[in-house]
Symmetry: C2
Subunit: 170 residues, 2 copies
């Protein structure tokens, strides 16, 4: 299992799932006659990110994980989204960015020194960074987005979170 | 990065973190003079698992991921925990189980055929199972446990979720 396989395709899959949850959220808002953009401001606790920031953070986590592991510069996003349409465009932009990566870009990523903005003068090794920061942080924000939607009545289930699993007859 | 490194040590680290969150939760309950076991019954939505079941599911997800990837039989747990002390014992039992695994147990795990109880007659390949089911499902339940605690006033932060990151001077 390469570090590419452990990261990019699965983060892309989860982001596309998150995009579908927003379809369900918009349909729910229409059924209940409220502005779906209201959902973006909702939080699980006053000192936790609202939905819009959770989605931005999920996108950033995927973007920075791929960029840092390959030594590339991630594109900037100013975090100005205020509507469901805008945050969906952000998700698509992140998915398109993930699509630019190939398995080859990740050669040497396991042992690459990853500098982190919050760890001045220190670095983490690529494989540690992915396992202990990149993936846990990504799943955290995706899960919080799910939790905010569920907490506010959007009808999602575990299968929407996991998505389809590649299986074979046997 | 081996499939062992991508799974067992990190799941153990997260479960030990979850155990520490319960310390914070108990201290919060004492400060606010309520029975800490009340927290175990709280949910983010009526059709989502309560905290106790989220923790059981996090433990099971770790246990089954390790067992299925190595072709071992996982120990049974009857899901009868009703107190914080009991659920912490469950976490410790799961951590002890994870400690029985060595990197060598995971030889061939990437291509192992993993049978899943909910996929009759089909199997997933080990690496797909870990990336698309084992880890996402594990992080889901750990994150929901965190979300329930935070939603109910327990003072946790992102650093409690991520834990320490192995870094080097550079």
């Amino acid at each position: 299992m390469t570090i590419y396989e452990s990261s990019v395709p699965q983060m892309k899959k989860m982001l596309l799932g998150l995009d579908r949850w927003l379809d369900t959220a918009v349909a729910y808002a229409q059924k209940k006659s409220f502005d779906p953009n209201v959902l973006l401001g909702l939080r699980l606790a006053p000192d936790m990110y609202p939905l819009v920031r959770q989605i931005q953070a999920a996108c950033d986590s995927a973007k920075f994980t791929a960029a840092r592991l390959t030594g590339k510069e991630a594109p900037k996003h100013p975090d100005t989204e205020q509507t469901i349409d805008e945050i969906r465009a952000r998700i698509r932009s992140c998915v398109s960015y993930l699509d630019t990566f190939t398995a080859g870009d990740f050669e040497g990523a396991e042992t690459r020194k990853v500098d982190l903005p919050f760890l001045e003068g220190k670095y983490a090794v690529g494989s540690d960074y992915l396992s202990e920061m990149g993936l846990p942080n990504f799943y955290f924000h995706v899960s919080m987005a799910y939790a905010i939607l569920r907490h506010n009545g959007v009808d999602l289930g575990k299968i929407d979170y996991i998505g389809s699993l590649p299986t074979q007859e046997g």
